[in-house]
Amino acid sequence: MRSGEKKMDSVLINENPIIYPKRPRRVRTDQSNTDEFSVDPIDQLEIFDRIRDIRDPEHPKLSLEDLNILTEESVEVDDDKSYVRITFTPTLPHCHLPTPIGLCLLAKLAQSLPARFKVDVRVAPGSHDKEKTVNKQLGDKERVAAGLENPDLVALLNKMMQV
């Protein structure tokens, strides 16, 4: 390949993403509850554990946690109210990929959480040009449902969830 010639097979939007050092995973120390019939409230870490390893659509070897798209602070949970909100930060303010990440988060949590939970997913305020557009799409369950019937999108999401 001559110098100056573009590599046509890999034009990534974010060619050189910043990879964040992995934070050590907290080990749950509270083993005191041995009542097999009690149900522990679902907490921030438990939810984060379900989503931290989702692969970035553009960099399948890297997770959303590696790229700081998600951190533990991304998760807000109120078990009593059965409410979860995930706020994620796209790597670039103008990258066109936030919607698949949002959809993947919704799909993964729909699979992982009890049906009673209401889940909202949004882009971190100020982190993306199309923040309002993406947030509105992710908040429209009819659009999300129809989108999740699209085989190409489902294939991408499965790849991201490494199913």
Partner: protein, 352 residues
Amino acid sequence: MDLMEKNLELVEIQKLEGHTDRVWSVAWNPVSSQADGVSPILASCSGDNTVRIWEQSSLSRSWTCKTVLEETHTRTVRSCAWSPSGQLLATASFDGTTGIWKNYGSEFDCISTLEGHENEVKSVSWNASGSHLATCSRDKSVWIWEVLEGNEYDCAAVLTGHTQDVKMVQWHPTMDVLFSCSYDNTIKVWWSEDDDGEYQCVQTLGESNNGHSSTVWSISFNAAGDKMVTCSDDLTLKIWGTDIARMQSGEDYAPWIHLCTLSGYHDRTIYSAHWSRDDIIASGAGDNAIRLFVDSKDDSVDGPSYNLLLKKNKAHENDVNSVQWSPGEGNRLLASASDDGMVKIWQLATKP
């Protein structure tokens, strides 16, 4: 009859199980639900790609599934609507088509499939005379179809104007005026001045008209047709009114104006609102609850104002997608559909 005086409650009559995915909409058969000696019939449609027809037995008073309309739509059936005669059922699907089914009593036959929309069809509505149908889609358009002899349907108009996904279409209860609401936050009114089938958008109700600030999910008219309620992702219900006499005189178009906004009652998206014959507005929302509102009849306030009559928490185990009052007189039955896969029949009754 002052409803606020009475001690009313919404009693669950029966839970209808059968769908294997979320239920999006319910529709009461207009004829059978009203006639004496005929059992009320309800249609429900679902993410399981089917429509179920439920009937109440006149003997046992319990509801059973009479038939399942399947193997036609290949994706979610999003909404359904009975023709005014009760003889036909139209079904709107994410597969891009609208099915027309003929009601043979215990059986239904799909007699026609309307194609044309570029992607998911969201809603279908028949006009008062049953001569026309309207459909709408994520393709941003509203189509009007003419019902012809021999199970033929002709596309009479393709109406563009909405800038986003159109969520619902609803014909006015007495006049051939069509209303649509959308992800673009507006409600549009479509009217044919010369009755020649040339429909135009004669009004857009947007934020500047005191309209909604997010997706408008549904529209419902009162029996007189001089008021309508709309509900939205912006967590409000809005009441609109028009000079119906002026409209009916046929002279010109009488614009709709905002009368009242009901805010502070909902904290999740309101998917459905329905206005009963005796002026009770029901809402179904993303917090699993059903709420009922009535006119406060407060003369000291300028224009109408509404009070919350009651709130049914945990009406379902998940979002309530559709609420519909039975058209029958006096029985105050309400049907609801939910993401929990259930359809429920409720009765508004005085507490014992």
